[in-house]
């Protein structure tokens, strides 16, 4: 039997909602999968698609992006801008052959510690089922290979 694949997931979250939600999950002693590395940012409006590409470049198997529910943005409309951006970026990734299941978007408020724990568990399981992002890792490996011709 091969060992259970442990996916590496990077989460880009906004500090006012999802990060606070993650905090709540922690203080409530909720247990969730340890596969996620959280990176806190001021707002989902600050989450550039570059971050997602960088995460993949560094070997992530999946990326989670999460912030305040519409209407709750600390900066009034950062998340509305982010939503449009993701809509387009997601379809671009899909067209390029990166499964939408690998790049996930969610709204989690500061009060939704339970939703955060559940989501992390679901996302981890989903990506575990997909397996390592071998196709992308192949690209990364090729950068380390010596010249062939």
């Amino acid at each position: 039997m091969s060992e259970l694949f442990e996916p590496k997931i990077i989460a880009f979250v906004c500090t006012y909602c999802t990060y606070a939600g993650a905090d709540l999950a922690g203080t409530s002693r909720l247990k969730y999968a340890p596969n996620v590395r959280i990176i806190r940012l001021p707002c989902t409006g600050r989450i550039s698609p570059m971050f997602i590409l960088k995460a993949l470049q560094k070997g992530a198997d999946g990326v989670l992006v999460s912030g305040c529910h519409p209407g709750d943005c600390h900066f009034t409309h950062g998340n509305y801008h982010a939503r449009r951006r993701w809509m387009v970026f997601r379809s671009l990734l899909d067209f390029m052959g990166i499964q939408p299941e690998r790049v996930i978007f969610s709204w989690i408020s500061a009060a939704e510690g339970g939703k955060f724990a559940d989501l992390i568990n679901t996302v981890t399981e989903d990506i575990r089922k997909l397996g390592p992002f071998d196709q992308y890792k192949e690209l990364i490996r090729e950068t380390e290979a010596p010249a062939t011709l």
């Binding site: 470049q57 209407g71 939503r83 449009r84 809509m87 387009v88 379809s91 052959g97 969610s106 690209l139």
Partner: protein, 276 residues
Amino acid sequence: MITQEKYRSKAKKLLAEGSVKMVIGYSPGSTPDRRRPVFIRSFDEADQLVLDSNCIANLSGYLVSEGLLSDEKHVAIFLRPDGIRSINILAAESQLNVDQIIIFGFDTNGNEVRALTGEHAGEFSEFIGSIKEHPPEKSRDPLLYQIEQMNPQERFAFWKDEFSRCIKCYACRQACPMCYCRRCIVDSNQPQWINTSSHTLGNFEWNVVRAFHLAGRCVGCGNCDRACPVNIPLRLINSRMAEEVLDSFDHFAGLNPAQEPVLASFKKDDSETFIL
């Protein structure tokens, strides 16, 4: 020929009376079917201008050349409908003042060339709106259907193969009127977001970033696709993105000079079915 003569004499008139400092148009190229951009600054030079169905390049990118419009003088330019849309976007993104631009609008149908009515960007809005409502009978690229039929792994492999040819000459970027950044994201190295080397990962990242930055801004003029020396089908990605913004946000890039850029605006009821 009639259109060519019409615009030649118009160019001469405008240059003679000093109402424009330059006319940007097409002149004969190095082979009979090639046309090259030309910058006409005097009455006598205007006879170099040609206009026929080989005039396909979108010239609007020259308008944002450093210093060209900073003296607030007028410039005339030959533009097809897609070029006029480019001008609208550049204006909407505060890159130029449309009042300075005199448009010599034209469209081609087979070998026929006809002049478009209007002289300033705003006067074409209705015409561009009609293109949005009734897209030309040009069928969607069959390759797009093929790509959509593939599963993600096949699609990834398809693009990996296409991008493996990329040599990172950045001709796609330089040929694009929308790529006006003085410092492109790939040229900045603090931080270095994507690999600058032309290996498959660097090529893949570059092409994804390029496509994203053009989403909702590309007018499909085809400059990038024609410029690519290794013939990567860049038009496919751009047109897929244009479809996406049209379907999701009813956004048709370059409708008029006041149109809000699609990714710098939002509606409270934008679709969010994909957000958990």
